[in-house]
């Protein structure tokens, strides 16, 4: 299969970025919007074509989806270690290509309406293209270092987009926070890469993941060296996962995600819901064979638990938030936790690998409906100029499209059949049930919570009592409505794609069947959640506050996101800034520098002290003269021998 044209998919956005970025002042906003959309559209079509080619035409060779790799040396470290730049075409990368390009396209279109009249319009589109380029590069990466490179680029474009309103201090600090937290996580990633490089002598996924078909185990010898009772490779994987956790806002690196909502809503939809935040999931999936085989998936277990706990934790917080974008942010976190959990509990061979499949599946569907939710929320915010539930209510009659689409998305995420979320979530629960009961129950519980908080905001926004709006809200323009409709359509049909035949851990594909009892349980739980939300929020009433009180402390903690921000603030401000940095600065001034000073000053001081010797008295001189003679004589006649 010829894959050279796939290079175009990332390169087009790059070209757009350079074009818009370099002469952002000269190009007219309208034009730049079109340039961005067109560029994105072409990438999108290309990736659709590529996906079609791969999945239906030439990808499958004797029952297995092959990897197609094309790479070129970019820099040499040693004779064996080098960074390659290239593309790696296989099922997950293509799946991601489709997700990224489609969502990005939608967001581009949406932004033309949403950002209209903003003075940084062109800059905005430039950033969007930069992000898309980086994300696509990340997806197509052939080795750890390439993925790390684009990983960082993704991070910086996220930084730029979060800080898009750079005159707003809150936006600036949010951007800073996002970058630094992820950077810290990436530290682990980098060290992990270094470990891999040192102990395996390669960065290539191909080599790292190579599975020996006979023995059905990893080719690479991971037991070579061990550190603190674990294989160093396991350490490497854990550290790499740390990077992934950072990007995917897993505990405890999640704190940047809610703040990231400071960015324009389309950005939140694209980066912080659909694509970038799932990079961590993608990374683990990329290295799945290693995660699975090295020390019987020790690292994989960690992934599973981190995922499960994060999803629960986030879902609980989401219930209490009042800023709808933050609610969505936490729901994103919880859904990604789902995916991580699915990967964590997955196996490798055939139906064993259902978790892997499910996680990819959920990644796909979630991208659709979560983007939809965000864009919907965006159009709501666009209409009422506020993020807070308290300023909203009864909007359904003003903005029907938004209402419907939002409802569809909500149903999808709540896992109500036949919407997309139902199918993927079901597979996840199946995987969890088969491998780890405890996680399964967490999963089910979270499903319920998800339905509840999602319909809480749904009702809060579109039903409930109307607020008095200074100017009556109206449906968004077509440029914003179209993406909503498109994504709504996707949210409905995406679930019907037989993922298990295309995207699996061993690339062989298998028959997936709906597990009716589990599905039934999940669905009921979802329905219950919705029903509760109905009871609480359909009409304006005080039930919610009453129950909130009854939860007392738990509610308070959840409301304050379990004080994670405060913790971080303490660590950075108090520890690093005041306890480490300040003393060092002081030490530098008062000790190191002062010593150098001291040497100089002492010299001058001495010369001041001894000036008396030159007394100007002839006879003192003579005395010194004679004394000198005597001393010399004494030394050389008596002492020396």
């Amino acid at each position: 299969m010829d894959i050279s044209y796939i290079y175009l998919i990332p390169i087009i956005p790059l070209a757009v970025f350079l074009l818009l970025g370099i002469n952002s002042k000269r190009i007219k906003p309208a034009i730049s919007g079109y340039i961005g959309v067109l560029g994105m559209l072409s990438s999108f079509l290309l990736s659709i074509y590529a996906a079609y080619q791969y999945f239906f035409v030439s990808g499958k060779v004797n029952g297995e989806y092959k990897q197609f790799i094309d790479k070129h040396v970019w820099m040499n470290f040693t004779d064996t270690l080098h960074i390659d730049m290239g593309i790696m075409v296989d099922s997950i990368s293509l799946m991601m290509l489709v997700v990224v390009t489609s969502i990005s396209l939608m967001v581009h279109i949406y932004s033309r309406g949403y950002m209209k009249g903003d003075d940084g319009y062109t800059r905005f589109f430039a950033y969007l293209s930069l992000f898309t380029f980086s994300m696509l590069g990340l997806v197509l990466a052939t080795n750890l270092f390439q993925i790390y490179i684009f990983w960082e680029l993704v991070g910086v474009s996220s930084y730029l987009l979060i800080g898009y309103y750079y005159t707003k201090p809150s936006a600036v600090s949010a951007a800073k926070k996002a970058f630094i937290v992820t950077r810290f996580a990436d530290l682990g990633f980098l060290i992990g890469i270094l470990i891999m490089g040192y102990y395996t002598g390669t960065f290539d996924f191909e080599t790292l993941n190579a599975v020996n078909p006979e023995t059905g185990t990893l080719v690479l010898n991971w037991a070579s060296a061990s550190f603190m009772g674990l294989s160093v490779i396991t350490w490497g994987l854990i550290l790499i996962f740390m990077g992934g956790a950072g990007k995917s806002a897993m505990m405890p690196f999640h704190i940047w995600l809610p703040d990231a909502m400071e960015g324009p809503t389309p950005v939140s939809a694209l980066i912080h819901a659909a694509t970038m935040v799932v990079a961590g999931v993608y990374l683990v999936a990329r290295l799945f064979p290693m995660f699975y085989f090295v020390e019987d998936g020790f690292a994989l277990n960690i992934v599973a638990w981190v995922g499960g706990i994060s999803s629960l934790f986030a879902a609980i917080i989401a219930i209490t938030q009042t800023d709808i974008k933050r609610v969505l942010a936490f729901s994103t976190m919880s859904q990604i936790g789902y995916m991580m959990m699915a990967l964590g509990v997955s196996g490798y061979e055939g139906h064993e690998g259902v978790g892997y499949m499910a996680s990819m599946f959920h990644l796909f569907t979630h991208a659709m409906f979560k983007a939809l939710l965000f864009l919907g929320a965006g159009s709501v915010i666009h209409a009422v100029h506020s993020n807070y539930l308290k300023d909203m209510g009864g909007l359904r009659k003003y903005m029907p499209i938004t209402n419907i689409t939002f409802l569809i998305a909500a149903l999808a995420i709540a896992g109500v059949p036949p919407f997309a979320g139902f199918w993927s979530k079901d597979e996840i629960l199946v995987a969890a049930f088969e491998n780890n009961q405890l996680l399964y129950y967490i999963g089910v519980f979270v499903a319920g919570l998800t339905a509840f908080y999602m319909f809480r905001i749904y009702f809060g926004i579109f039903w409930g009592k109307e607020k008095e709006y200074e100017h009556t809200p109206h449906e968004s323009p077509m440029s914003m409505a179209f993406p909503l409709l498109f994504l709504a359509g996707m949210s409905i049909v995406a679930g019907l794609i037989p993922f298990s035949e295309y995207v699996t851990a061993d690339n062989k594909g298998f028959e997936a069947h709906l597990n009716y009892p589990l599905a039934a349980i999940a669905t009921t739980v979802g329905i219950i959640g919705i029903a509760l939300a109905w009871v609480f929020y359909k009409k304006e009433n005080s039930l919610s506050d009453k129950y909130a009180k009854s939860f007392g402390v738990l509610y308070k903690w959840a409301y304050h996101k379990f004080y994670f921000d405060e913790l971080y603030l303490f660590v950075t401000k108090k520890i690093i800034f005041n306890r480490i940095s300040a003393p060092i600065a002081w030490f530098d001034k008062k000790v190191v520098d002062a010593t150098m000073e001291g040497i100089g000053n002492k010299t001058v001081l001495v010369s001041e002290k001894i000036k008396g010797i030159q007394s100007g008295k002839l006879q003192d001189y003579a005395f010194a003269f004679i004394a000198g003679v005597v001393v010399l004589a004494g030394v050389f006649i008596y002492l020396w021998k």
Binding site: V606, S607, I610, L618, F625, V629, L632, A633
Partner: protein, 475 residues
């Protein structure tokens, strides 16, 4: 003996003739154009300097009392050049201050006879000649130091110089008598064979050494230096700082390397100690000086300390490097003194902070000063760097790495106070900087010569190799 061999004393004879001529001229030149005596003297001495460069063979006179070799010959020329530059730089001062008091001629007579003393000293073949040369070179300078009879500090300087010089020569005489006692001869050549390592000899060596150490102003025999430099006329100070120091170093090396070779084990360590003391004391005192003359006095003390690093080598390498350094040092120091001279002649200011903002009013002068100071501090690419570097090489070749290390520490200290002067001239603006002025021809010539020396001597490598060749003769 045939009298052609007297030509070996060509330098001495010509200088003697010049002295006599000047005295005669003093008699015949009418009062109102005494000024011309200056031109005459400079002219004559210029010829003498030029003639000096004509080649001359080696040889010995008076049964070994007087000897000359290529090296000695070369060094006399070096001294000539130095004195010539000093004359050029002090010409204006003489015209304006001294001639008016009818003391022009005596100045030249005294300085020349002191130079004559140097000649005899460095080409002496026995201690008698050496002693006479020493005294002949010292006494006139004492008179010169006290030359500005109207100034109290000048007489003070004279008193201090003459008395401490007398003490020094007395002590070193005592030493010589001991050496005479142990070796039974005052001829260098015979002594070198007879001399043996025993306490009396060592004591003699030490006592004798002090005499020269006094002239080179090594610690602790240096105390007179600063006071005399400050009190004496600038030209005399510069004469003391380069010419008499240079000559003393020269003869000291010859004696140590040849006569006292057997005692090398002793004098090496002696030099080691004295060198350290000299460098540190010199630098530490220079650190705080405000008066340029005192400042240069202590800096020259420190420089003497560096010179010892070459002497400690005790071989041809050391000899050559020291001579080379002295040559460079003469030019550098004279450049500095020349600028001081020019400024104090114009404005009477001699303090460092009077120099503030000098660059903006008199850029040329301050550039000359900067070059001179860099050369003294040993900053490439000016000559001083090479001089110092070679000295260090000489010391290091004998494995005195610690000594070299302490020396470079001192270089850094010295850099500090040299930079203080540069700071005053370049960095500061100054409330009332010295107004712009132009010096007379002689002064300019003098400064240009020194600058040429500073720049050329370093980069022009054949010179060093030439010196090295010459110094073979003495070993």
């Amino acid at each position: 003996m045939d009298f052609s061999s007297f030509l070996l004393m060509r330098h001495e004879l010509i200088l003697l003739v010049i002295i006599l001529l000047l005295i005669v001229a003093e008699i015949f030149i009418p009062q109102h154009k005494k000024g011309s005596i200056v031109h005459l003297a400079i002219f004559l001495f210029g010829i003498h300097t030029a003639v000096g460069f004509l080649g001359m063979g080696d040889g010995v006179l008076f049964g070994g009392m007087f000897r000359t070799t290529g090296m000695i010959h070369f060094f006399k020329n070096v001294l000539n050049v130095g004195v010539f530059i000093i004359l050029l730089q002090s010409a204006d001062w003489l015209q304006e201050k001294i001639v008016a008091q009818h003391k022009g001629t005596e100045f030249f007579v005294l300085m020349f006879s002191s130079l004559l003393g140097m000649y005899f000293m460095i080409s002496s073949g026995d201690f008698l000649m050496f002693y006479l040369g020493l005294e002949l070179s010292t006494l006139p300078v004492a008179a010169l130091a006290a030359y500005e009879t109207s100034k109290r500090i000048s007489s003070e300087a004279g008193v201090k110089l003459i008395l401490s010089a007398a003490l020094a020569s007395g002590v070193s005489l005592f030493g010589i008598s001991m050496l005479y006692a142990t070796s039974g001869s005052i001829y260098f050549s015979e002594m070198a064979e007879m001399i043996s390592v025993n306490n009396l000899t060592i004591l003699g060596l030490i006592l004798f050494f002090t005499g020269l150490a006094f002239k080179i102003s090594l610690v602790p025999f240096h105390f007179w230096t600063a006071d005399v430099y400050e009190g004496a006329p600038i030209s005399v100070a510069s004469y003391l700082s380069v010419i008499s120091k240079g000559a003393a170093v020269f003869i000291l090396m010859i004696l140590l390397f040849t006569v006292f070779k057997p005692l090398m084990g002793i004098w090496e360590n002696m030099i080691y100690i004295v060198a350290l003391a000299t460098m540190f004391i010199g630098n530490l005192f220079a650190l705080r000086q405000q008066n340029m003359k005192r400042f240069l006095a202590f800096s020259s003390v420190a420089q003497a300390g560096f010179i010892l690093l070459g002497i400690i080598n005790g071989e041809q390498l050391g000899f050559a490097t020291v001579i080379y350094f002295v040559l460079v040092y003469i030019f550098s120091n004279l450049a500095a003194f020349g600028v001081v001279q020019a400024i104090s002649l114009q404005t009477g200011k001699e303090n460092i902070n009077d120099y503030e903002g000098l660059y903006r009013t008199n850029p040329k002068l301050s550039l000359v000063m900067m070059l001179a100071l860099f050369s003294l501090a040993g900053i490439p690419p000016v000559a001083g760097f090479f001089g110092k570097f070679f000295l260090f090489t000489a010391a290091a070749s004998k494995g005195y790495y610690l000594l070299v290390f302490l020396a470079v520490v001192n270089v850094t200290i010295s850099l500090y106070y040299y930079l203080l002067v540069i700071r005053a001239m370049f960095l500061r603006k100054g409330e009332n900087p010295i107004a712009f002025f132009t010096s007379k021809l002689y002064m300019r010539l003098g400064l240009v010569l020194t600058v040429l020396g500073i720049i050329v001597l370093g980069v022009y490598s054949p010179l060093y190799d030439y010196i090295f060749e010459l110094s073979k003769g003495l070993m």
